[in-house]
Symmetry: C2
Subunit: 451 residues, 2 copies
Amino acid sequence: MEHKVNYAAEEIEQMLTAKRYRELKSIFSSMEPADIAQIFEDIPEEQLPLLYRILPKDMAAEVFVEMDGDEQELLISAFSDRELKEVLDEMYLDDAVDIIEEMPASVVKRILMQADPETRRQINEILKYPDDSAGSIMTIEYVSLKADMTVEAAFTRIRRTGEDKETIYTCYVTDKDRHLIGVVSVRTLLLADPDDLIGSIMEKNVTYVTTLEDKEQVAQQFNRYDYLALPVVDQEKRLVGIVTVDDAMDVLQEENTEDIEMMAAITPTDKPYMKTGIFETWKKRIPWLLILMISATFTGAIITHYEDALGTYVVLTAFIPMLMNTGGNAGSQSSVSIIRGMSLGEIEYSDTPKIILKEILVALACGLTLAAANFVKMMLIDHVSSTIAFVVSATLVVSVLAAKVIGCTLPILAKRVGFDPAVMASPFITTIVDAISLMVYFRIATMVLPI
Amino acid sequence: MEHKVNYAAEEIEQMLTAKRYRELKSIFSSMEPADIAQIFEDIPEEQLPLLYRILPKDMAAEVFVEMDGDEQELLISAFSDRELKEVLDEMYLDDAVDIIEEMPASVVKRILMQADPETRRQINEILKYPDDSAGSIMTIEYVSLKADMTVEAAFTRIRRTGEDKETIYTCYVTDKDRHLIGVVSVRTLLLADPDDLIGSIMEKNVTYVTTLEDKEQVAQQFNRYDYLALPVVDQEKRLVGIVTVDDAMDVLQEENTEDIEMMAAITPTDKPYMKTGIFETWKKRIPWLLILMISATFTGAIITHYEDALGTYVVLTAFIPMLMNTGGNAGSQSSVSIIRGMSLGEIEYSDTPKIILKEILVALACGLTLAAANFVKMMLIDHVSSTIAFVVSATLVVSVLAAKVIGCTLPILAKRVGFDPAVMASPFITTIVDAISLMVYFRIATMVLPI
């Protein structure tokens, strides 16, 4: 892969110390903003403002947007009011809002004071939308056209106003009350006759989302329909903004990370692993470890209850870890399949009966295979009596069955009552399945063995 | 959310039976191809060809592309040669290749026979690239310009050839030997003067990828740099195709699903859960369950080895499940964090020492918290002796430490030796950590207790 030329933070730092500013500027102008921002993270704090001021003017805002909250805050405090205003003016509004959401109140106040009144009003407007809504990720900088314009007039308008718009490739057509009535792509415009009316070439069947819609669902639509942008309307169907594909992609990646973290019993955050401190990491992990540890009291109680049986047949203890792990693994296979299917919109609540039936059949197939393999293994390798081998193998079948049924239903139920299904992944399923496996194990053992 | 009007499969089927073809056609033309394809999946097989022929001509190929392999195969066998040719001509080449990759040999032969010689050559070209390479997801339908063209001439060319291109918004500039020398967006073209030369307004620093590059890394670049398209070049830096953002998004979602499935010990496939049969689901799950079950033989052996200790202190058995689960959970927290960080490109091999140090500190913090909570709980609720409580709590600290260190290093090592780090997630970590926890448990117990 060929990136635009990339440099290590050390090289940049050396050039800075050697005051090779002109060289630095030309290096930066050949790089991607995201790569420059990454270098900035590894530069000592006190050199950051100086380095930032070397950036070519037209890139400064883009680099700023790509930086981490900590560095942004540091730079803002180093900025003069005029510098702050310049950066703000160059930024797309949705990026400005993202930054403001991360900053402490005093910094927010300073930013809002430097923004012009109209921008301030618009920022405040977007800040009102809930964190997980389409409104919170939209930008208000889009191209809007009127139905009675000609294609030529549309191009004139795009040329005049396009510079500041996040995308110009999808243009939205509104009536005099700002209601969304159509959409037309620059591709269509280019292939049309200059005298054609927008109203006659626009697509009238517009897919749109509303400001309060869940941003994950909005992002999924980009994936499903291959859109480059989607219009966002208010309750009265007035166009208020657009969501672009790059923001949708960010949302999808964030939601994926969130799902994966929840499945591993970690409280999700947006912060990358390497940026999260020891205390913060501890805070994300310890509550779940504690809850799961305490809930294992049940398994302990079950074992204690069957202490006598275990005293007589100590050999039974040897298979407890295997039984519990197999149950846990079988359960998490099912729960993770269902959770992912729901995330991708492939599984609906109405599929529940079909899913349960399928999981029962798969569980029986898996359970019987495992039981057979285990029986043979216990007889040949562990040299236990066939009765003990039978007890363990029978438990395997029942606990895989229980694990898979619980594994597939809990996430669906969680979603039904409004929770994120991902919390119902492996760790919780394991805890429940452990208890069931043990009970089944001892029940079968006490029935079959002379205890 | 407002989709374009949506209908249930049953309604469509009724209209079809009632021969309301005209009505169906107008309904279809107001819908998204992806939604129509979904309806087609729920229509009885024998009605599929008829229904497909009702589709408006300009949508037929788009709907075909969105359908499942099974339905595509069914339709192809129902198509006349002329119909097959029509669909192929309307399809983008990368979509045609995707379909061909799923079809049995006899169908592939028929498809290739209907394609014109040039298309056939191009399809064969793309089919040669490995499944996980940029070449396999690229399209060769892009707009290419020359440096000595004027902006006006460029627009003429875009208008003339743009209809068949997957994207027209990013145009690539090549020299006479097809070497990639620049890139220019339609946005830049629109804002430029009609007489400007492409060579003077194009961006010369082009980020590109090569045909054999890993497609996941290519997709990550879209996410990082917010591209709409990326050029793909061969070993001689000649432009051979482009990858568009919609395909990149598909790759990211597929890779995410793959990671999540591997983390849950499932063999990954592209097929959605609801489309996978019982036998197939069993096949995806059983190998891992078997391997993990057999590997639990170690834990069994450890317990058997300490049978005497357990015979004397049966109470020790009661805490085995809790110890093993806590270790497993602690380990999977670490491994999943690292695996995700590597997937997102946030973690590099060179970060290993930093990661291990961090995980040791977090592990100590978590382990001590858990040990303290557990000690109090065992004294107050389980009413065990303080010696037993000490043995269990001390084991907790050691096994959380071992779990987190193993959990963070194994995925890094796996990647280092060329495996997918996601296989080193919870289930494998759990199996290893279980064995370590048990050994530590019995070691401490035999040291502290009079056994």
